[in-house]
């Protein structure tokens, strides 16, 4: 019994750390004050740092960001509004320009038409004059050619008559030729 006790004590001495206290260090009451003290210190430090520095700073940054975003959205809205206005002005200017262009086109067209009419009239008059002139020339040519025809016919007739040897009266031959030409004409 005695020897056994000694061996047990020796065993305890060898593995003092494990065998001495209770198995779970969590239940070692002697370390509690230490842990609680340092826990409170740590929590105090973290709370101090958080409440004094970190949280106000992060809160401010988040608020600033939210403000910036709101402002940016407002600015974007403003810009969009302005862009819409500019677009409206542009459309209006475009429509005005189109109306103006149409007006100018119509005006020019009317003017050109007027000029064209005048020129047309002038040309028509000229053409009519030329036509009349030509008609006169043609009439004259026709008349002269008819006359030539009768002259040639009289000459031929005179020659034919002379060839037959008959001393025909010139005036009679001419009259006969004219009569024949008059029949055919």
């Amino acid at each position: 019994m005695a020897t056994e006790t000694i061996t047990a004590e020796e065993a305890l001495a060898v593995h003092g750390a494990e065998a001495a206290g209770p198995g779970m260090p969590q239940l070692d009451v002697s370390s509690f004050p230490n842990q609680i003290f340092w826990l409170l210190v740590t929590l105090g430090v973290i709370y101090f740092v958080l409440s004094r520095f970190a949280l106000p700073r992060i809160g401010a940054v988040l608020a600033e960001r939210a403000g910036t975003i709101t402002n940016d959205i407002a600015a974007a809205e403003e810009l969009r509004h302005r862009a819409r206005e500019a677009e409206g002005a542009y459309d209006k200017a475009l429509a005005d320009a189109r109306v103006e262009a149409n007006r100018i086109v119509a005006e020019t067209k009317a003017q050109i038409q007027a000029d064209l009419d005048v020129e047309m009239e002038k040309a028509d008059a000229q053409i009519a004059a030329k036509t009349a002139e030509s008609q006169a020339a043609i009439d004259e040519i026709r008349e002269s050619s008819a006359r030539n025809v009768s002259e040639v016919a009289r000459d031929v007739a005179r020659e034919i008559v002379a060839a037959f040897g008959a001393d025909a009266d010139v005036t009679k031959v001419d009259a006969a030729v004219d009569a024949k030409l008059g029949e055919r004409a």
Binding site: P22, G23, M24, L27
Partner: protein, 78 residues
Amino acid sequence: MEGDIAQFGQFIGAGLAAIGSGLSAIGVGSVAANYLSGALRNPSAAASQTATLFIGLAFAEALGIFSFLVALLLMFAV
């Protein structure tokens, strides 16, 4: 000899206590399964209930942890 019996009792007790932590696995699985089936029925409401899911899981798991702790205490502390 009586040490033997005590140790025997400790180990048996620790083993029995460990069953409890296994049973809590059923609880955790049931929480997760029911959450999943609910979430699949109504996915739009799922996101708002994740906090409840985790609390439920923690409660179910905590009881298993308690029995595991009892097992540990029996094995190493008593």
